[in-house]
């Protein structure tokens, strides 16, 4: 299992648009990708669940990936968070 931590810089947080983009980024990977925040978690491939977490500005999140392409998934998603959130 691979993971990274990130603090959300975006003013609104993981709102509809970035949540949609995150799902798009995560879906091509076969690994199970999980977003954890404040003891809650969601599958990063599920839009509604991601939005339901209500991840706001300043939230400290952890992304974990587990599976054959976990390495690539983490690299790609870390870059995604830095660029978009």
């Amino acid at each position: 299992m691979k993971s990274f931590n990130y603090t959300i810089q975006d003013e609104i947080g993981i709102h509809a648009r970035p949540a949609g983009l995150l799902v798009k980024e995560s879906k091509p990977f076969t690994s199970t990708i999980i977003l954890k925040v404040d003891g809650q978690q969601s599958d990063a491939k599920k839009l509604m669940a991601l939005m339901a977490l209500g991840v706001g500005h300043g939230a400290e999140i952890t992304i974990t990936a587990e599976g054959d392409d976990e390495e690539a998934a983490i690299t790609k998603l870390e870059a995604f968070f830095k660029a978009n959130l």
């Binding site: 810089q9 975006d10 003013e11 609104i12 947080g13 709102h15 509809a16 648009r17 949540a19 949609g20 799902v23 798009k24 599958d43 491939k45 599920k46 839009l47 509604m48 669940a49 939005m51 339901a52 209500g54 706001g56």
Partner: protein, 537 residues
């Protein structure tokens, strides 16, 4: 005649009959079904159809309102592909043996409620998106075509609230204006209305009995007038006529070059003061943004905007312009533009005081934050920076040092950025007079005629008593402009105008003769100037 006020979303006026729009609540009846797999198949077909419709809607919205704003429909189709949403529908059908319509309605309500209970206003507002997609699927299941034809005649739509998809779907030819009770100035619907340039008001205390009555929507003042009297109608008919004339001009001149009959070309750019002006930049067919006043980012806040906040706004503007040039002017605060948290002292003579680049160079932390945000945004399109209130070449050296520091930092952090043209505003007589020296150090000049005129003529524009002395066509100003253009061209750089004088149609020909390369004006002035340019021999 009755008047109501609301929050204006998009300017313009409209008059006509009111059509009270209420969502055709798709009656959902709970039915027992025998074959759940058959019912699931029905749902899957409807779901696929809904996603197709949203795809078409997305395409339509890209054309009408631009890609960034159209993305909401992509999100909508992703919601319909969401596993949790679909599993909920399947489970209801299988476990309770209910019809697909009912399963979707319950699922939609549950998800909408979940969002509705969230603390954050933004996420709370997403419940309307879930309802919107669920209603679409139900309409398809019911065999009801989603209604795109609102009426056979042009109408003012009055509604409780409008979903983004309803707004975009409405047949634009018969749509005069929107008036709603709910919705905020920042809702997706408001943004869409703005992009479609349809006069719109929100927060109006609407009444059902208005249906069929004549009304005026004044998007300039935020007023709705029900059953207007003759005089009022006449007045608005005139305003409306002017609007139509403008629009006709727009239609014939859109997409045309800014070129004189003898073949001289000039760039016509737009001045903007806020990212909400972007729609009118695109509608008026500006070749770029010649002056993006970054002050609003500072004036709207109670504290310094962060690099991230600034970056987002610059990026949005740069992306919306899709490769066309965006010239961002660094912070021009002080004098008549004050923000309390800057804690600036009261001055005897603020126009000549501690303002603009003078603040930036003495408080570099503010300046650097802004420059970093601009540089980061430059990776997304074509960005130029210009610095206000320059009087000496030393200031340019200092700016360049700071810019180099920023670039080194970004390189070190491996943050991408683009090539940025560095320019200065020529708005002091000093800068105009030494423009031969300055031209060696920068990539372009933009002449700020408002301040240049005030400083050259020593006339305070705020003082009405001086109006008789003020002459915007004063030969001194025109000579300074000519001097600046000549000095720019000698060093092979370009020179433009971004002050109010640029919009003075009686000077357009003179500006072309002077050899100006660019004129930047408020978006609404672009097409009238283009018209004149194209008639000049």
């Amino acid at each position: 005649m009755e008047k109501y006020s609301g929050k204006k979303i998009c300017s313009g006026v409209a008059f006509g009959k009111i059509k009270f729009y209420s969502k055709e609540e798709n009656q959902v009846i709970r039915k027992k079904i025998k074959n759940p797999e058959e019912e699931i198949l029905r749902y899957e077909i409807a779901n696929k159809k809904a996603i197709e419709e949203l795809g078409e809607l997305y395409q339509k919205a890209v054309k009408d309102v631009g890609e960034v704003n159209a993305q909401i429909f992509e999100i909508h189709s992703m919601m319909l592909e969401d596993d949790d949403y679909n599993n909920s529908v399947y489970n209801l059908i299988r476990s309770q043996l209910v019809n697909a319509e009912y399963a979707v309605a319950i699922t939609g309500d549950n998800f909408a409620e979940m969002f509705g209970h969230m603390e954050d206003e933004y996420f709370k507002a997403r419940s309307i998106d879930v309802k919107d997609i669920s209603e679409r699927v139900i309409a398809i299941l019911n065999g009801v075509a989603t209604n795109t034809k609102i009426s056979n005649e042009a109408v003012i739509i009055v509604a409780e609230d409008l979903a983004p998809s309803e707004t975009v779907q409405m047949d634009k030819d018969n749509l005069l204006a929107f008036v709603t009770r709910l919705g905020s100035a920042n809702s997706h619907t408001a943004i869409l209305a703005r992009m479609m340039t349809i006069p719109a008001l929100v927060g109006v205390d609407i009444k059902k009995e208005w249906d069929g009555q004549t009304a005026i929507v004044d998007g300039y003042t935020g007023t709705l007038i029900i059953s207007p009297d003759e005089d009022t109608l006449d007045k608005y008919a005139r305003i409306h006529q002017e609007d139509i004339e403008k629009r006709t001009l727009l239609e014939t001149l859109k997409g045309k070059e800014n070129i004189t009959l003898s073949g001289q070309k000039i760039n016509l750019y737009a001045n903007i003061g806020n990212s909400t002006d972007l729609a009118s930049v695109l509608q008026n067919d500006a070749s770029g943004i010649g002056l993006f006043r970054s002050e609003f980012l500072f004036l709207e806040k109670d504290d310094f905007p962060t690099e991230e906040e600034q970056f987002k706004v610059y990026k949005q503007v740069v992306e919306t312009l899709a490769g066309k040039k965006v010239i961002i002017r660094t912070l021009d605060i002080g004098a008549d533009k004050q923000a309390a948290y800057f804690k600036l002292d009261k001055e005897e003579n603020p126009a000549m005081g501690y303002r603009a680049i003078r603040i930036c160079l003495t408080r570099p932390e503010i300046f650097k934050t802004q420059l970093r945000a601009i540089y980061r945004a430059s990776a997304y399109g074509t960005v130029s920076i210009m610095y206000p209130m320059i009087i000496s070449v030393n200031e340019v050296y200092k700016i360049k040092e700071i810019v180099e520091e920023i670039k080194a930092e970004l390189d070190r952090d491996e943050i991408p950025y683009g090539e940025i043209e560095q320019g200065i505003m020529i708005e002091t007589p000093a800068a105009a007079i030494i423009s031969d020296i300055l031209a060696k150090e920068v990539d372009f000049f933009s002449i700020g005629t408002n301040d240049l005129t005030q400083y050259t003529l020593a006339i305070d524009r705020q003082n009405a008593k001086l109006d008789d002395f003020y002459d915007s066509h004063h030969e001194a100003i025109l000579r300074l402009i000519q001097l600046v253009v000549n000095n720019a061209h000698k060093e092979g750089i370009w020179a433009g105008i971004c002050g109010e004088l640029g919009a003075d149609l009686t000077l357009t020909q003179r500006f072309l003769e002077m050899g100006l390369d660019e004129i930047s004006v408020s978006p609404g002035c672009i097409l009238p100037i283009r018209k004149i340019i194209r008639e000049i021999k």
